[in-house]
């Protein structure tokens, strides 16, 4: 079912934007060039546990010419051109299908078939024991070079994430806050943010901001994370306390914006006050369209940022998905209540 819909989607876009339909499909880039942010996606919502393996998502270039006409016929209204919604009108932002990944160096498999769909405006939490693959999952999403994807697919806003360089993923609207961000001596926080911000502006074809213009833009964002301006003159993460590092990640998120923010243990090492600041900042950034994927060990964070769904990860797979009650159960009885 899902596979069929997928074909329809591609077929439709071809019919719409390429006047002369030939049997060989156009390169994917053409499609993105036309509708970069909203590519059609029909009804791909499926229970992650039972979702069929959709490797075809990766590159559906094998579309037969014959399906074009039927696809056009099958689309009753032009409304579906803009956004493809599921039955209840949700728009998928991130779709992960049977994702498998190994550590490049040791070839050890960490992710063993992860399935996950995040819709616009949703907040998801991934929980799980140490070593279950949560952080690896978030790093694979943003394209960390230590890991190699060996199977499955990641589609973000209809684009195949696996074809993109890490910086392209970021520019596409994916943001990951690092669990332990590296120090970059010699590069000031201000310069770093300005570089990243201007990279985004360039991508959007908007004028870049010089340091002075950018500074005034920044100051308002500093309040969001409750930081002083001298924070900007310090080198990126150099000599930062654990709390400052986390705040700095959220500051970057606030400045750069993201359609999907992946927060990897943003709560670890934070005192209660700092946690509240960070949670407040994240909540402030949430819009009906933005989504958050949190990775956490603790119920505490979920008290501040209310998740739509909670996933439990074990041994490289998501083994259970549920609402907030799952976290409560976890808090009370531990992981044995779930895996057992």
């Amino acid at each position: 079912m899902a596979g069929a819909n997928l074909q329809l989607r591609h077929a439709y876009s071809i019919a719409q934007f390429v006047p002369t339909v030939s049997s060989s499909p156009p390169p994917q880039r053409v499609r993105f060039g036309i509708s970069p942010s909203r590519v059609l996606f029909c009804n791909l919502r499926a229970d992650s546990a039972v979702a069929p393996i959709l490797r075809t998502t990766r590159r559906s270039e094998t579309i037969a010419a014959s399906s074009v006409s039927s696809a056009v016929d099958a689309s009753p209204s032009s409304d579906s051109l803009e956004k493809s919604r599921d039955d209840v009108g949700r728009i998928p932002l991130l779709e992960v299908r049977d994702l498998r990944a190994v550590i490049v160096e040791s070839r050890q498999e960490i992710l063993k078939g992860v399935n996950l769909v995040v819709y616009e405006g949703e907040v998801h939490a991934v929980m799980g024991k140490n070593g279950s693959g949560k952080s690896t999952f978030s790093k694979v999403l943003v394209g960390h070079p230590d890991y190699e994807v060996t199977g499955g697919s990641i589609v973000f806003k209809g684009q195949n994430l696996l074809d993109m360089e890490p910086e392209e993923r970021s520019l596409a609207g994916l943001f990951m806050s690092f669990q332990s961000p590296v120090e970059i001596p010699g590069v000031s926080n201000m310069d770093f943010l300005n570089m990243a911000f201007n990279a985004r502006k360039r991508k959007l074809g908007e004028p870049e901001l010089d340091p002075i213009q950018f500074y005034s833009h920044l100051v308002s964002k500093l309040e969001v994370v409750n930081m002083k301006t001298d924070f900007l003159n310090r080198n990126v993460n150099e000599g930062f306390s654990g709390g400052e590092r986390k705040r700095n990640e959220i500051l970057q998120l606030a400045v750069l914006g993201a359609e999907l923010a992946i927060l990897d243990e943003i709560d670890s090492g934070l005192d209660v006050d700092a946690l509240q600041d960070v949670a407040k900042a994240v909540n402030g950034l949430l819009t009906p369209k933005n989504s958050v994927l949190m990775i956490t060990h603790y119920q505490r964070l979920l008290d501040y940022i209310k998740p739509t769904l909670i996933h439990i990860m074990e041994n490289g797979r998501i083994i259970k998905t549920g609402d907030n009650s799952l976290a409560k159960l976890l808090e009370k009885e531990g992981y044995k209540a779930i895996s057992g």
């Binding site: 890490p166 910086e167 970059i184 001596p185 010699g186 590069v187 990243a196 991508k203 970057q252």
Partner: protein
Amino acid sequence: MASAATVLGRLSLIPNLSSKPKLKSNRRTTSSTTVSVRAQASFSDPFVLQLAESLEDSLSASPSSSSSSTLSLPLQRIRDSSAETLLSTPWPSRKDEPFRFTDTSFIRYSQIEPVSTQQQRNSSILDNLTETQFPNAVIIDGFVSNLTIGPSDLPDGVYFGSFSGLPDDLTNRVSEFIGNFDSGDLFWSINGMGAPDLIVIYVPEGCKVENSIHLRYFSGETGDRESKRLPVSNPRVFVLVEEGGEIGIVEEFVGKDEEGFYWTNPVLEVVVQKNAKVKHSYLQRESMASAHIKWTFVRQEAESEYELVEVSTGGKLGRHNVHVQQLGPDTLTELTTFHMCVNEQTLDLHSRIVLDHPRGSSRQLHKCIVAHSSGQAVFDGNVRVNKYAQQTNAGQLTRSLLLKPRATVNIKPNLQIIADDVKCSHGAAISDLEEDQLFYFQARGIDLETARRALISSFGSEVIEKFPNRVIRDQARNHVKGLL
């Protein structure tokens, strides 16, 4: 240790070493030196002798301050002892430990010509210089050419200028310190032989000079690569800071055109008296075809502080020899240096800190980047903690970035510790850029090329940020950025 042995061994071979003072007093005129040079030719490297003679001839031809009749005593003394050393010093080869990785044959096989001392030096070539807000002087081919330092720029009692202009009472004081250094090499002696003038900076007791003195060195004459004509200049500056005095000295070496073919062979001597402080900034951006071999010799009395910040990028061959000699307890020595090879060039730092008294503290950070596959960086960092230097705290760290295949760095950190109650550390790291840092940039949407550039320039900025003066800091930063 090996380098020390070589120097000592060489000296011990000189038969007349013990009679050195006597010989000195006998030689007052340049002509008698010439005679002795020629008389002893059989002991020596003929090439070095020839070079010494040509240096001598170029100076005696000059009608100005360097003529034999008005030649200042200390300068004469320097010349005499240098002449003597040159007699027994061969041109260094790769077999000599201090030159094991530094090939000087490019100088050796050029046609070395001492710069003319008669030529009118025209500072109009320096029009493009930016104004600085602190006192500055231009030194062309070893002569102070353009003194923009007026008396009002300097506090009372501070002297800046040629030795010959020194007030009588200071002449003797300064003379006490001149010509006492026996760890130099051939290039030290060549400078001693060829320096046309001795430029003196004198800071009296307790005087804290607020503005740094900015020395800008230029080579007025350039040769060309085709004919291999290599003009050599030998600027020499002497700094004496009396007890409790403080001063900042900025040395900037500039090549006026990118391909200028010349050799600068400068010497800076610094005497830091008790409780005095010297902040020394050194920015070397000679032309990429030139040779630049510099000596910095520092003597530190008790409780004195000496800080060096260096950024070197120029020269087909660039070498800085730093020798810091501790003369009393509780000194602080800080060397922070950055070399960057972006061309087919060799940049070399040979540093030596000799601690002979208790509670000295020395910190050294040397960083280098080699961004060319035929580029080479050399570092030999020697710290000697001798018998009486108890409770010394000496740290040394060197980090190198090799950015191209076959880029080379030769690092030799060496600590020689005889005292038994000391804290000493050293470390060396050689790497490409950190993957984690690059990824952090990428994860924020910054492409790899921009990220690499940012990380490379940040590598050097740890040193550049240490320049005490903002103008120099900006200048160095822009220069490094421009090269990348």
